[in-house]
């Protein structure tokens, strides 16, 4: 059982309706990711990679098909069950960081622990992760006092504080300059190699994708070779 893929997607469809028009964002996607892999999903705008990200993260439900994350089928989950899934299984890193502006960096990270009903304290191991992220000295600052690279590192720290089964990163370097982009990608790679964190990176940038151990290409809602 330990060898079962942590992400398994089979014949996944997602159709959006706008009035009488149906738009197929995903058309029978098949995908498998092993635990501890660093996979990049690469594709141009409109290829369906963000929709795949949303479904794998439990942010929206699939129209049809099988989506299994850590042994849990997402296809039949209610809203409340998807909420619990996000809380227990996934960590998100977004392009726009999505930190709460009224909270300090530290409280943004604690928020995830608070929502999960866990003690809002950092373990010794996590403190070391914060050191490796290079944000230990910036924890008492609010997001507006941090530059983009620092905000994204805080967002990464927030995503992994509860040791999620998978870390989903949607264009995490999209708002960063090249120097910070490299730093963030190095961090993701380090988390994957050192801590065995499963990472799924969504990007349209081949340079960013090169940090992964495997690339999956998407076009027109399908995985292509």
């Amino acid at each position: 059982m330990n060898d079962a893929p942590i992400i398994e997607v089979h014949d996944l469809w997602k159709t959006f309706r706008a009035g009488d028009v149906s738009v197929h964002a995903l058309r029978g996607v098949n995908l498998s990711v092993e635990k501890g892999e660093f996979v990049a999903v690469v594709g141009p705008s409109g290829s369906g990679k963000s929709t795949l990200f949303h479904i794998l993260g439990g942010l929206t439900s699939p129209t049809s098909g099988l989506v299994s994350i850590n042994g849990q089928n997402l296809a039949n989950l209610t809203n409340a069950e998807r909420t619990r899934f996000r809380k227990e299984t996934v960590g998100f890193v977004f392009q726009k960081y999505n930190l709460l502006p009224t909270l300090t960096a530290e409280d943004n990270i604690h928020l995830v622990q608070y929502v999960a009903g866990r003690p809002t304290k950092f373990t010794k191991e996590f403190a070391q992760v914060l050191d490796s992220l290079g944000v230990s000295s910036r924890l008492k600052h609010k997001p507006r006092a941090l530059y983009g690279g620092q905000q994204q590192r805080i967002a990464i720290a927030r995503a992994i504080v509860d040791s999620p089964a998978i870390l989903l990163a949607d264009e995490p370097t999209g708002n960063l300059d090249s120097q910070n982009a490299i730093a963030v990608l190095d961090l993701l790679k380090d988390l994957n190699e050192r801590l065995g964190q499963t990472v799924l990176l969504i990007t349209h940038n081949p340079d960013a994708a090169s940090y992964s151990s495997r690339k999956i290409y998407m076009r027109d809602g399908q995985v292509v070779d």
Binding site: L59, T83, R86, F92, N98, L99, L100, P101, L111, V115
Partner: protein
């Protein structure tokens, strides 16, 4: 706003009652058909004074004429000798009684508000007056002139607006009241105790309706303001709600977070509102002491707090539920 309006209503009535008590009379007689607060000019003949004074156990009677001015002000015409006999007289802080028909007496609040000093000229009722005295507030009126002067000026010679009666002994008050009510059946006749107790929000029908309308408007306006403020606040935080949803916060968790925050804001807002009423009170005391008086009406604190809390809760729950029901992706993409 609500607390200030209620406070002004109570304060104005209490000020009127305090000045009425300061007259030193035991009974007040108003013109037929008049209400407790109406400012009639002078519809009663002064022949009534002699008639009333001749009644058993009446030690003296005196009348005043009242001419309303703009706003809350009015000029009272009085027979100063008779009034002094009844009330013990004004306590002058400067100047003294009337010396001539051009003289006017004002209380200290009116003098301070209008920057009047002894000997100053004052234009009222279409003519010029000389400030002959400034007296301590709390007796009868704020602006006084000679009775005959005011009667003639208003083309109402020998007519009175109010008659004050003093009885020879408090024990005879009810006897005199009964007698006067029998002899003058159409006249509203009150003991001063009755009259001052009638000067309350609930006893003055017109004022009760007015306060009701004003408070109603304040509640509606307050509700709309709070509702829109909270609606906008929640709308602006749609992205934050999206972040909370993304990290696994349940609907109940987000809702209770917003409700707790709203309750805290409402309580703080109520406290700020209460403090602001004290600021308004201070401003009225120093900027318009003769026309407006504001009391602190403690019983309205929880009512105002309740309105604030109810309005803000309703204002937050509706848009919050809408925002929470929104898809997390939509919420996260909100700019």
């Amino acid at each position: 706003m609500i607390l200030t309006l209620v406070g002004v209503s109570y304060g104005t009535l209490d000020g009127t009652a305090r000045r009425a008590r300061g007259v030193g009379a035991d009974i007040m007689i108003r013109p037929p058909g008049s209400s407790v607060l109406s400012l009639t000019t002078a519809p009663m003949t002064d022949k009534l004074i002699d008639f009333i004074a001749s009644q058993p156990h009446v030690s003296m009677a005196t009348g005043t004429a009242i001419q309303p001015l703009k706003g809350f002000d009015s000029v009272t015409g009085l027979d100063l000798d008779q009034f002094s006999k009844m009330s013990g007289g004004f306590h002058f802080t400067s100047g003294g009684p009337f010396q001539s028909d051009q003289d006017i007496l004002v209380d200290e609040y009116y003098a301070r508000e209008n920057n009047l000093h002894l000997g100053d000229r004052l234009e009222l009722l279409g003519r010029e007056w000389r400030v002959a005295g400034v007296f301590e507030s709390g007796k009868l009126a704020r602006i006084c002139v000679r009775l005959t002067v005011l009667q003639n000026l208003m083309a109402n010679p020998r007519r009175l607006s109010l008659i004050y009666v003093k009885v020879d002994s408090p024990a005879h008050l009810q006897v005199v009241l009964s007698n006067l009510r029998n002899r003058m059946p159409n006249y509203p006749i009150y003991s001063m105790e009755e009259y001052t107790s009638l000067l309350s929000i609930n006893s003055v029908g017109l004022l009760r309706n007015f306060i009701g309308v004003v408070i109603g408007i304040a509640v509606v306006v307050g509700f709309i303001v709070v509702f829109m403020a909270m609606y906008t606040a929640v709308l602006e935080r749609t992205r934050e709600i999206g972040i909370l949803k993304a990290v696994g916060a349940s609907t109940g968790f987000i809702l209770q977070l917003l409700v707790r925050e709203t309750l805290l804001l409402s309580v703080l807002g109520t406290i700020c509102g209460i403090l602001l009423t004290y600021a308004a009170q201070w401003v009225m005391r120093y900027a318009a002491p003769s026309s407006l008086a504001q009391e602190t009406v403690y019983s309205w604190w929880p009512i105002a707090g309740g309105i604030a809390i109810a309005g803000s809760l309703l204002g937050v729950i509706v848009p919050a539920v809408r925002a929470i029901r929104q898809d997390a992706i939509e919420a996260l993409s909100y700019e």
